[in-house]
Amino acid sequence: MAVGKEIRVKIASIKNTQKITRAMEKVATSKMRKTQTRMLATRPYSKKIAQIIRHLAHAKPEYTHPFMVDRTVSRVGVIILSSDRGLCGGLNSNLFRLSLRQFRNWGKESVEVNISVIGQKGCSFFNGIGAKIIAQATKLGDSPHLQDIIGVIRAMLDDYREGKIDALYVGYNEFVNTMTQKPKLEQLLPVKSDELTPELAGHWDYLYEPDARDVLDDLLVRYVESIVFQGLVENNACEQAARMVAMKSASDNAGKLISELQLIYNKARQAAITQEISEIVGGAAAV
């Protein structure tokens, strides 16, 4: 009986796809746990260094580091962190959309943008729209190391020191929870003090050992590195979480599609059988 052969083939192919999405979901789930522990482990350090930088912004140092001075901005540098692989829902595209909107706003004030990209997806996207890419790093894997991105950061910091860019931003996805990831564009340089802590108000300065210049330089470079690295680790956790959710809904949709097709197939089969029987009965009656 050749009823609904097309439907059967379709069902089989959807079943195969579902197997793949299920497997990807499982892989993403286990990777998600790993990347999340990693993210939580490195969070205290970056939180602490951000706090010290906030304190520092309140101080009235005798030596002002170039990273702490506001300049008129004619060109900004942006480090975009993206994933290497796709199939993770709207994770990358949300971040790119947010960045492009910001770029357009800067464009209106005739501020130009230099980009550094980490991750394959970001590279191909920003190459595609013809953005000015200074540095890039791809294929960092699931457990990236600070050494992998130091080159990218250094390229940006050098540009900043030489005055080729007047502000530095980093764009990444912040991990809120498994279901929610928030794209974010954060200003790194010049260091800004947004909220004033009352206990730190007034005129004071640190004692520096051995001297302000060395210590501040060390601290500020470390600060940028640690924030970008934290962003990278968070983005990784986001990627796995987003992929898990995307693959789960893909598997569910495949299941729904299969049961619908199965229903249609069964109906067609039954109709064919009924028709055949009535044909036989009709034939017998005629004899």
């Binding site: 350090y45 010290i52 050992e209």
Partner: protein, 139 residues
């Protein structure tokens, strides 16, 4: 009632210690510093060595740090270590081995070697062993 100061020790990988202390002794680049409550704000680099935290119940907790940054505010001390270990968690065998390797590399100048890197490794390993030794003695 003695005055206490809040201490946070974090390394790049984890939060090592967070709590109150009467006194914190840290290996600053220009010599060890002892910090009690209401210390003036201070910002300095750390060398490899031992951080000792004297808690308010009169215990001394030793930690090894491989270097980093120390920030002091009148009410708090933050230690950002590149790598930090509680003294009791120091891997003696690994430290001894690292020391031996570094010494070998330094004495064996003929081969192509990164002189500064070996030196840094040696200093770190020695500091670790010293921390461990002190901890054992004071236990």
């Amino acid at each position: 009632m003695t005055m206490t100061i809040h201490v946070d020790i974090v390394s790049a990988e984890e939060r090592i210690y967070s709590g109150l202390a009467e006194l914190v002794i840290a290996p600053a680049e220009e010599g060890d510093v002892g910090i009690a409550a209401r210390h003036a704000p201070l910002l300095t680099r750390l060398r490899a060595g031992e951080v000792r935290v004297k808690t308010d119940d009169d215990q001394t907790l030793p930690f090894f740090v491989s270097g980093g940054i120390l920030e002091v505010q009148p009410h708090m001390v933050s230690i950002l270590a590149d790598r930090a270990v509680r003294a009791k968690d120091i891997d003696e065998a690994a430290a001894t081995e690292a020391k031996r390797r570094a010494e070998e590399a330094l004495s064996n100048r003929s081969e192509k070697l990164d002189y500064t890197k070996a030196q840094v490794e040696l200093i770190e390993a020695v500091a670790q062993l010293r921390t461990l030794e002190r901890w054992r003695k004071n236990r």
